[in-house]
Symmetry: C2
Subunit: 131 residues, 2 copies
């Protein structure tokens, strides 16, 4: 883990891959990850962990399947949202977005249960910055 | 915990107190907090947890007492830094800053060990938003 400051803009400029989070730093046994996204992710569930999203740029939408039905939250730049554990969700970003995520290290980007993974979605626990 | 999106700018506009973090949302047993700061905090240590800072606006400086000596990291807007557990540190912001923090719920803003707390520093585990 870096013991020097890191800069979100430099971190985001260091990679191009979509739906493929990079681990920016760690906080105890949690990762701070950054991701670039565009288009659709997949329906998936994290059974044992909440997942935090901060939109750094662009607009993210997250569809949620809740007991009361399905809804979509719209997250412009500067919005935050926590998807509760156990809630099936599908992030998507028609015109693209840059994200900061907090979640336990080892959390798989496609969750514990998910629909078929298309080629444009990276199933990862996060790549090191600079990879 | 809100199950609606929250907005950093609205959250920050909802309070004026300095060095007095508000809990924006929770992620499992962690808090996402926001804070407004200006001037000096105090030397303190979190014995059992790392502490994550993201500078949303302004400039934060954090002095660190490390085995090799004392140093200060300078964090402009968009910079992130994790203070490792056990490292004595003192945040300060001569011209002010707005911060996002990520740390375990219940973490005291002045740590487990600290110098005398002046009147302008709030010793808190974070106040609810809107309080």
């Amino acid at each position: 883990m870096s013991n020097e400051p890191l800069f979100l803009d430099k971190a985001l400029a260091s990679f191009d891959a979509l739906w493929s989070p990079r681990v920016l730093t760690r906080v105890n046994d949690y990762d701070v990850r950054v991701a670039k996204v565009r288009g659709e992710h997949i329906w998936h569930v994290h059974d044992d962990t909440d997942e935090f999203f901060l939109v750094l740029d662009g607009e993210l939408r997250i569809s949620l399947r809740e007991p009361a039905g399905e809804r979509t939250v719209v997250l412009p730049r500067g919005a935050v949202f926590t998807v509760p554990r156990g809630t099936e969700h599908k992030p998507y970003a028609p015109s693209g977005a840059e994200l900061l995520l907090f979640e336990p290290s080892g959390t798989l980007s496609v969750g514990d249960r998910h629909e078929e993974i298309p080629g444009h979605v990276d199933a990862t626990t996060g790549h090191p910055l600079g990879s």
